[in-house]
Assembly symmetry: C2
Homo-oligomer: 215 residues x 2
Amino acid sequence: MSDKPLILGAVLYEGFELLDMFGPLEMFTALPPDLLQVVMIAETAGSVTAGSMAGNNMPTFIADYGYDDAPQLDLILLPGGVGTIPELENEKTLSFLKARASEAQITSSVCSGSALLAKAGLLDGKKATSNKMFFSLATAQSDKVNWQEQARWVDDDDVVTSSGVSAGIDMSLAIIARLFGQEVADRVAIGAEYTWHRDADTDPFTQYLNDGAPT
Amino acid sequence: MSDKPLILGAVLYEGFELLDMFGPLEMFTALPPDLLQVVMIAETAGSVTAGSMAGNNMPTFIADYGYDDAPQLDLILLPGGVGTIPELENEKTLSFLKARASEAQITSSVCSGSALLAKAGLLDGKKATSNKMFFSLATAQSDKVNWQEQARWVDDDDVVTSSGVSAGIDMSLAIIARLFGQEVADRVAIGAEYTWHRDADTDPFTQYLNDGAPT
């Protein structure tokens, strides 16, 4: 464990999925700031609006930093969402992820966020997973990834990818356990009254692989 | 089911708990906008920052409406968090909740949000619950409430209160099931790859009653 707090960069983009981001951040921000601190980042600092596959009106959030002025990151958290598809064509996001992941200890994604990591080449030669409903969106981005269809999350050292939406919460607790110990992660989960799915390989939603829109 | 979409008012205040709000909103915003629409409300429109018991740096959100200009609400969602304690002294919030709950079909709270509902007198004569760690904060606000120590959530018709943080997700799915049917709620849970705790009376965290800060 380092003397300085780890800096976690939470990367927002238009149309990101709410719980992909704020489930894991609930867990990470339950840590004291001498262990870990969160910074909110987007292409440019300022407002970013979440997305919903159903087309519902979504809340707006403030990014404190743009890609150009974000501090050095020890950890990266990248959500998925309906906004993933246009973001796959955003060279600035792909370049930012590539540059910052090379310096980070762990780059993590939730849901279709792994499609962006794959497009940026960050998963080549790695084991990774993605959300069940649109699994093929991720796999289409690179055939050099060892894609895991059945996984709640996949920890491949410097990249940790999770399955859809809620799976990000389980992944974030596993990252906390890896960085700060099992007891710390257990206390965080209990504080949030969260029944942690502890087994990365048990995936209750594999049956919905590529089932598409659920609603 | 009404012809018009139900309007859900999500009430933000400084120091609210992230997942209390965005867990349930993930589920509610998975509904199509012809069924339900979400509006973000705070004392005044503009930025509101979440809180963390650990004192970590927290994200900032935008409220679209202030108490004075918020539209009529069919549903209310009130989070808890470290900000609950100062908010208990905010007469504007208590008056807003009292006035709007009287017109709403369902007023719901997560975690220590029920302390605010109790202080506003909205739980008198009702069954209700709150988060485990600081249960006494809620019970101290009114002795006219039938407080339930063991409950994931409590549905007492026009008020539905949940236990701590993650329990709000289970409660929101129960509200969706009540309003739109079990099948709709199931599809929303599957879409978020969320293993729904369906039994309101099964509470895995009762043993931590009034245990205080978990981290």
